[in-house]
């Protein structure tokens, strides 16, 4: 079977990979590019564990065909920190104990970044609705929501 050649930018690096036409971007990122921080909880767009930013927009990578990534800019959890310097969301998640098992964490971080990029001063309700596409079975969301609100404050204070 012939494979499709995809060129895109992932986390700041130009990346090329070959994929099958019917392959999901999630599978391509994990199996062809080796970005295992993108998680699969369902494969049907219902859990958000596979969240990525594609050209700045939040997407479930399990719902995108890998060839669609051609020419796009992708951000995964692996690209959130600036070298050793964690993104405030990552730091606040750690300090706020916003993760237990951690399988949902990459997706929440990406979804929360998508929110704060667009709305730097969200209310609790706005955070809850922005994260409603991400499932966490461990935390009951309390500490996740608090950590996102805290990160928003920190980001506002530093700019």
């Amino acid at each position: 079977m012939s494979r499709t050649h995809v060129i895109c930018n992932i986390n700041g690096d130009d990346v090329e990979f070959l994929c099958d036409d019917g392959e999901s971007l999630l599978d391509a990122l994990r199996d062809d590019v080796g970005l295992m921080g993108v998680k699969e909880g369902c494969g049907t767009g219902d859990c958000g564990a596979c969240s990525v930013l594609m050209d700045g927009k939040l997407n479930c990578s399990c719902l995108i065909l890998a060839p669609e990534a051609n020419g796009t800019d992708l951000l995964t959890v692996e690209g959130m920190a600036d070298g050793d310097h964690l993104h405030p969301l990552q730091q606040c998640f750690l300090e706020g104990a916003a993760l237990q098992c951690g399988i949902c964490t990459p997706g929440f971080l990406i979804a929360a970044k998508a929110l704060l990029d667009q709305n730097p001063e969200p209310t609790e309700t706005e955070v809850r609705y922005a994260l409603a596409g991400n499932l966490c079975r461990c935390t009951g969301y309390d500490k996740i929501v608090r950590s996102v609100l805290e990160a928003a404050v920190q980001i506002r204070e530093t700019v």
Partner: protein
């Protein structure tokens, strides 16, 4: 907040450091089982039964074997029949033999070069079934004309023993006093019938494993599990292998809640790896997770509660049937043991029935069997309180057991903190605030035993004065941080100078599964014991250096101190730096069977708004008070409490298994099996009550499970307060509430 009794002044215990494994988890580097890639690795896929109950007449794998990329195909015939030996049923659940017992039961497995090739090949396997009648409800399966699941199944606990097989596994009975007398003496008697559906644990990470079987006949398994030692023995048993041929390396685990205390995939991956000579990875889809892995049981419960006008419970009579799924279990027994535990009473008659039916076999889920039982009991107690005009907290305090009282399931209560939980809720901001308009408020309590069991820990001091703590307990919610905190407290080392590690089955001593809220309690005890051994060794090294009696050396804040004061204190780092010259490296191991797990109690209050037009509910405010004994890392104690509450909210309001008439699950996705999302919920307020457990060096009692017990009844009671309805069938989904409101109007 924390309602803390006086306790020793700890330096590390009770603080909230960033967990050691946290960084990897926020940068995407934490390795879960599905993330592992080995050279030459194959991908496995499982063919599952489309029928709820059928005989397997024949399986033809020849077409599948001829397909591209296929390296191995296995069926039940490739695994030994263990009969009645331990794990015999488990073996038949891992892969069906002569019969399939539920839709989703594994029938065959394929390993191929890619996942797609494996799936295509699995679909090319031809299975001939002879479809049998099936049972999907407790009533169906207990009826005399139900199709029998297991030919030799004779009900236990009935005298004289039945002569015919049935689907009733066992009858359990707990009896105290004279229940008829209790009701004769009662001023109020309330009774109702309740039902709950199976609920999935809903961990976000599907089951996954990789097996690499070598030519030496040994295998290495990486997997997502709450207990890799159990994976080792169970996998070996199912394969008919000696345990020592299996090594299990625990990956990071993406949630378990009890559901990852058993095995599904590992023997299949090991066997296909052995046959192909290549590593084999199997990862379930979410659909498979729902159809084939352990829900907690559905139940049907009839309870009758008698009480006096002053609120004293006179007695409880219960008839409780629990689904076990396709193979026998003991869910009803646990239901009987927990149902009345938060209350004292002179008379009880608790009868439990475990039944098999054509659904996936149960797996544990957070305080297994207790939430449904508490749902029934605490709903009826609310009704009693309403009938006699008593405050729902007061009636619970009035019947609250204390130390020395007989627990319903036999022993005497040790030190427990239920009274303190009730008082904490009574005195909370939440309970004192007025109930919001158009809303109702509900209260309930819950109990869970907590367990001890076997744990091992090895603590090594490194030459630079840091320490490595290796335990055998997979960390499913922050327990590594708790281990490090206890070791820090003992050794007087900074918590970040300690590296807590979960060791595989060949580097650390036997350790039971992370279940029963035991890891921080029991494995923590092993860590403390090993640290105390080390402290003795450290004092001895100092006494040798100072040429004095070891009794003159104290261990204070990470230093050996000469109590008479003749020598300058020696730091731990100074002792470890010199260790080679003074007798060799310093390390200690402790293996123990922990006793004295302190029982856990919790009381919750919730405010719920009900939209009478749509039946939609909204949780407006939720507060939980739970006795943690001592909170080692309060953030993760709160996390356990909040996680348990929200799982309980999902159970109460939305989650359910829906089957069609043929026994096929109709809602096997997160879209249709709806677990709570962030926008459904308010913050979950926590009050950590600390009534230290005298059996643990730091007073720990397990915190993982009890939080899921009270929400079902608390929410039902709030819905009653808001609408006047007594909802006795879960979930209280909008259509159910709407229907009940409609009936109430008529």
């Amino acid at each position: 907040m924390t309602a803390t009794e006086e306790r020793p002044d700890y330096k590390y215990v009770g603080t909230r450091p960033i967990r050691h494994d946290g960084l990897d988890k926020v940068i995407g580097k934490a390795r879960y089982a599905a993330d592992l890639v080995l050279p030459g690795m194959l991908h496995g896929h499982i063919l599952r039964s489309p029928h709820a109950h059928a005989k397997i007449v024949s399986i033809d794998t020849s077409a599948a074997e001829a397909m591209p990329g296929v390296k191995s195909v296995v069926t039940g015939a490739d695994f030994p029949d263990l009969g009645a030996a331990p794990n015999g049923d488990l073996a038949k659940n891992v892969i069906a033999r002569d019969k399939v017992l539920y839709e989703g039961h594994a029938v065959a497995a394929v390993a191929a070069g890619t996942r797609r090739e494996a799936m295509d090949a699995a679909n090319a396997i031809v299975v001939n079934y002879e479809v049998l009648g099936h049972s999907l409800t407790i009533d169906q399966t207990m009826s005399p004309d139900a199709e029998i699941l297991h030919d030799g199944l004779i009900t236990r606990g009935i005298e004289p023993a039945p002569t015919e097989a049935s689907n009733i596994v066992a009858r359990t009975c707990f009896e105290r006093g004279d229940i008829d007398q209790a009701f004769a003496e009662s001023d109020v008697i309330v009774e109702r019938e309740f039902s709950t559906t199976p609920i999935h644990q809903g961990y976000i990470e599907p089951h996954a494993c990789v097996a690499d079987t070598g030519q030496d006949g040994k295998t290495v398994v990486w997997c997502s599990s709450q207990g890799h030692f159990r994976v080792r023995s169970a996998t070996a048993d199912v394969l008919g292998w000696d345990t020592s041929r299996v090594k299990v390396i625990p990956a990071e685990i993406g949630g378990g809640f009890g559901g990852k205390t058993t095995i599904y995939l590992e023997p299949l991956a090991v066997e296909m790896s052995a046959r192909s000579g290549r590593p084999v990875k199997i990862v379930m889809t979410r659909d498979e997770v729902f159809r084939a892995t352990g829900p907690t049981p559905g139940s049907k419960l009839k309870l009758k509660v008698g009480a006096k006008n002053d609120g004293t419970i006179t007695g409880v009579k219960a008839w409780m049937a629990y689904e076990n799924g396709a193979f026998p279990g003991n869910a009803a027994m646990l239901g009987c043991m927990t149902v009345v535990s938060p209350y004292t009473m002179e008379h009880m008659y608790l009868e439990g029935f475990d039944v098999v039916l054509n659904k996936p076999v149960n797996a544990a889920y957070r305080a297994p069997s207790a939430p449904m039982a508490a749902f029934a009991m605490d709903t009826l107690l609310d009704e009693v309180a309403e009938n006699i005009g008593m405050d729902p907290i007061e009636i619970r305090l009035h019947n609250c057991p204390s130390e020395g009282d007989p627990a319903p399931y036999g022993p005497k209560w040790p030190t427990i903190g239920l009274k303190e939980c009730l008082e904490a809720i009574r005195d909370s901001d939440h309970y004192k605030s007025p109930v919001p308009e158009n809303a109702g408020r509900g209260i309930a309590s819950g109990f869970w035993f907590n367990i001890g069991e076997a744990s091992s820990a090895t603590v090594n001091l490194n030459e630079n004065g840091t320490a490595t703590v290796v335990t055998g307990s997979p960390d499913i919610g922050g327990s590594r941080a708790s281990m490090a905190l206890m070791a820090a407290e003992e050794l007087g080392l900074d918590v970040y100078s300690i590296t807590p590690v979960v060791g595989d089955t060949e580097v650390v001593g036997f350790t039971d599964v992370t279940e029963g809220s035991r890891a921080t309690f029991a494995t923590g005890m092993a860590v403390v014991e090993a640290c105390r051994d080390l402290k003795m060794q450290l004092r001895q090294r100092a006494s040798t250096a100072w040429d004095c009696d070891v009794e003159e050396v104290e261990w204070v804040d990470g230093h050996a101190v000469h109590s008479p004061g003749d020598h300058e204190a020696l730091s731990l780092a100074a002792i470890t730096a010199a260790a080679k010259r003074t007798g060799g490296p310093l390390g200690a191991t402790a293996s123990l069977n922990a006793r004295g797990a302190g029982p856990a109690f919790s009381t919750h209050v919730v405010d719920i708004a009900v939209d009478k037009e749509t039946g939609q509910t909204q949780v407006l405010r939720y507060t939980t008070a739970q006795d943690a004994g001592t909170a080692i890392h309060p953030s993760y104690v709160e996390g356990q409490m909040q996680g348990g509450v929200v799982q309980g909210i999902g159970w109460a309001l939305n989650e359910e298994y829906i089957h069609d008439a043929d026994g096929r699950m109709e809602n096997s996705s997160f879209l249709d099996y709806r677990i709570p999302v962030a926008s459904d919920l308010p913050m979950i307020e926590t009050i950590i009550v600390e009534v230290p457990n005298p059996s643990h060096p730091y007073g720990v009692r397990g915190v993982g499970e009890v939080g899921i017990v009270p929400p079902l009844a608390a929410i039902a009671n709030a819905v009653h307060d808001a609408t006047g309805l007594r909802m006795s069938d879960l979930p209280m989904s909008p259509p159910r509430i709407l229907a009940a409101l409609g009936e109430a109007v008529e």
